[in-house]
Symmetry: C2
Subunit: 234 residues, 2 copies
Amino acid sequence: MTSKKVIELFYDVVSPYSWLGFEVMCRYRNVWNIELKLRPAFLGGVMQGAGNKPPGLVPNKFKYMTKDLSRLAEYFDVPLQQPADPFEAMFQKGSLTAMRFVAAVQEKEKDGDKKVENVSRELWRRIWSEDKDITEPASLSEAALKAGLSESEIKEVLASSTSTEIKNNLKSTTQAALDHGAFGFPMIVCHVGGKPEMFFGSDRFELIAHCIGENTIVPCTTHQHIYHQTGRNK
Amino acid sequence: MTSKKVIELFYDVVSPYSWLGFEVMCRYRNVWNIELKLRPAFLGGVMQGAGNKPPGLVPNKFKYMTKDLSRLAEYFDVPLQQPADPFEAMFQKGSLTAMRFVAAVQEKEKDGDKKVENVSRELWRRIWSEDKDITEPASLSEAALKAGLSESEIKEVLASSTSTEIKNNLKSTTQAALDHGAFGFPMIVCHVGGKPEMFFGSDRFELIAHCIGENTIVPCTTHQHIYHQTGRNK
């Protein structure tokens, strides 16, 4: 029996390309011999730390990304829809509160990462599918309820999400991303032979497969199968 | 017999990702039922026209791109190597003279595009494999000789490359790219059902295949085959 290769996935629910990368990696964890470590972090901190600017600020790039995301969403079968005002959702409202909430869910979850996976997905669904808020406590509670957390768990997580400990946890994951050379999300770090190999974006799965000695599966013919293996609830 | 779908490939030899896209599309033209139209243009003009900044100016992004290019070069089997000083090669020396030369080759070539294909490849090989100049007339001549042009052809092309007609040709192709929504290269435009569909970069071949009703071929098992079909000379 060979030991599983560790793959870290750094993401922020404000990032639509992160959602695609997240769903694809959640599917591959059932196909590849890997241990997927979810690493919720704060994209705003990464952009600032790396001195990077959001790509959507260039008008032609923004227009293209809208089209590209809609094509990729269909290709990967992720129900991604652009919000009516993506700039308000991404830059004015942002994701700091939401990502602290996800960090708090992760801190509380001792066995596995099903809750952090489900809560992340429900937050993406709100902002990047249903054009709903992810900044208010009521919004976070609603997402967590759908993700299967109990009322008492949600109350506890909401309280701890504003604690210094959780704020520092999120900062520290964000710093770890920067230390790996991040300049945006999603960022995937494969640990092979004691060496971290960093991949940016949701379009390097063939290279990732090559790096860890696995094969990709052509999504257009078999992704429904992988999709269902994850037990993802629509 | 169905008519071939037209695909335009906008590129500049200063762009390493364009080289990857160019080689992959030159291989697929033998596999897909397409007419590939090579559209040499000026990346500097596209960046300025779109208000975009070169991605390599963000240090983490530059570091990653170096790694990413080397991984993709291996994956696609293109002999790409970063020049010792990529900033000097790309931004100080640039590609305006080279792309006017390529535009002049294209203007002169009436039957097909074998010469413009070969000259482009030899220029890429100089800047992005052998760390050689592509700005001096002697450099352009050397590339064109390797590409199979005769001494007299080269003399003619060098002369016409500084003409107003060729300058305007290059400007007009660059403007056509911007009109399609370009913000960088490579840009691939598929004409399907009278509608242009634009794809940016060298990592959307699955989406392009889907768009034109074809299939991609997994490069890791069969690209040698496609590679040889193109008759590409190493």
